[in-house]
Symmetry: C2
């Protein structure tokens, strides 16, 4: 039997709360019987929902939390109201106490990041964690980071993102030496933000092991799958991610309306409906739901707040590979700067 | 008969040079007989091509330019090599000398911006011109600016972009009071870059006439057409634009490959082919080719370098409305700050 994966769930997070979290966990359990769930939430609300899913219930434990972080709370508010007693806090704490391998929440992103930093602390040498997103491309999938954890980045932070992103790509995509590009507004060396140009120079000189730096990439290179890992600071990364999602929705809407306008189109749709289903599935943002917080002493997965059970299950499933292949240990090792012995880096991270 | 529009063309610009520029001008002339063209380029190359289009030739004048700015030239190189003698420089100069109403180039963007600033100068109070792009949306079209003229922006620059973008939207979309949003990574007041938040406060307080400020928008709001004008600094704007283009290409490729995979899909495609054509046209980046440089004493239109004749014609056609409705005069008037009398602002701009 495979290794058990223990998953802490913030049952109160997201626009739909426990209904989606419980249903999503049930889907994940059906696909991965080697799962144990720790639900954190209001027992009076979550208990009855869980009771309707007996198979899931027998693989789960429910821990009462009296506070639920609200989607509109500022991070500081969430910390004030929810520290030590919110479902989000307690779920993260389960990872800290090694009672769970990962935590998944569809709750307030800012609060989740603030609480994760507070409880888990960042890895040695990492000041600011990042959110890494999986991005469907013409070649398969790429990792794009940071998609919104922090705004602005100096060159060294971008280099750290490259190293952490490559470690994640090695695990999730099973490639030995993932290709890495820096997101910029031109591929020429003279273009773009100074920290991006400087990060390019550093990556070229240091040649960190375990990644192949290919230079600058532009926005339209992401979807083409030009590199396995696209590195950017969080403001531009978030705008790129949301713009791509919006464009996919817009084109799906064009297609839907064109296919219902004439009799010919409607007949054509009937013949080609399996092809349409395939395109719809490839464009479905639920398929790749889940951002991984990188740079913390623990793995935190953020699901879209508005997702449904299928999407929440996808966010949970992202965790299995990450846990089995020990993403955290690999990132810690990879962050050892050339010139230092790797042991030193590991000691630093463990302190 | 409508007012004549005099168009200066950098015949050597773009990946395909005069072949595309001449063929694009011919398409534009067929649709707008009230056009006069001034071609600038190597007479030995452009002359014979023009000679093959007699109708166009009779509406055109060809001016020899001994230098062509290269696509890979840095702006400083282009200025050094091409000042006073390149096709790009001379085409811009035609606008400065009032021999042309607009200039259109598919050449090197950085060089075009540098030469335009050098020759035309910026409007009073504007330090950095912007590139405004037309963006197809579910509601029609929006203007997004800046999509790459400059990197980084303080709050006042973002406010100027809002005012210039709104003046352009009034003309191109024929609306009295266009809606404006600031691109950010969340819609809450506490989120995002400080200059963006500050610009939001200024727009709320000053309430510039001729636009309705609706607050922050996110990347996925652009394609939905949530506002008429999306304001952002050039780095994020360029990445948003290119990411949307890449996503559209990616989805078109999914669709193409799905529709050829099974017999049913191929039959369906035949029935629905007019619907597919419609979707393809709506997704066609050529349809909205052309960025307008705003903030200069003259109108410069930049076409995609890799476009074909149809796309270059679209860039030229963008110019007609801009010229007829006197975009430049409107922007100059709109930039008058509240509190100043408009005359003062106009005097300032004319100095």
């Amino acid at each position: 039997m495979s290794q058990m994966v223990r998953i802490a769930l913030d049952a109160m997070g997201g626009d739909h709360g426990p209904a989606v979290v419980v249903a999503g966990a049930e889907l994940a359990l059906a696909r991965h019987p080697e799962s144990e769930f720790l639900f954190f939430g209001n027992a009076a609300v979550v208990g009855p929902i869980l009771a309707r899913h007996p198979a899931l219930k027998s693989a789960s434990r429910l821990v009462h939390a009296e506070v639920a972080v609200r989607m509109e709370d500022k991070p500081s508010q969430a910390l004030r109201r929810g520290r030590r007693k919110s479902s989000m806090w307690l779920a993260i704490e389960a990872v800290k106490k090694k009672e769970a391998d990962i935590v998944v929440s569809a709750g307030n992103t800012g609060a989740l990041m603030a609480m994760s930093k507070f409880e888990l602390k960042t890895l040695a040498g990492i000041e600011r964690p990042a959110i890494a997103a999986l991005w469907p491309t013409l070649r398969g999938e790429s990792i794009v980071l940071d998609v919104g954890a922090s705004i602005g980045a100096d060159a060294e932070h971008l280099v750290d993102l490259a190293v952490m992103g490559a470690a994640t790509a090695r695990i999730l995509f099973g490639v030995d030496c993932p290709t890495v590009g820096l997101l910029n507004i031109g591929v020429e060396e003279v273009k773009g933000l100074e920290p991006v140009r400087e990060a390019g120079r550093i990556l070229r000189e240091r040649q960190p092991s375990g990644l192949e730096y290919l230079g600058f990439v532009e926005g339209d290179d992401i979807g083409m799958g030009k590199v396995d890992v696209v590195v950017t600071e969080g403001f531009a990364g978030n705008i790129a991610l949301k713009t791509a999602e919006g464009t996919a929705r817009q084109l799906a809407e064009y297609l839907r309306s064109a296919m219902s306008r004439s009799l010919g189109a409607r007949i054509g749709y009937l013949f080609a409906r399996s092809a349409f289903r395939e395109v719809r599935e490839r464009m479905d943002p639920r398929r790749v739901n889940g951002g991984v917080f990188l740079g913390l002493n623990g793995i935190v997965i953020k699901s879209h707040g508005g997702t449904d059970a299928e999407g929440f299950a996808a966010a949970i499933e992202l965790g299995y590979g990450v846990v089995r292949d020990e993403l955290l240990a690999r990132i810690t090792a990879a962050l050892g700067r050339p010139g230092k012995e790797p042991q030193a880096a590991l000691r630093g991270a463990a302190s």
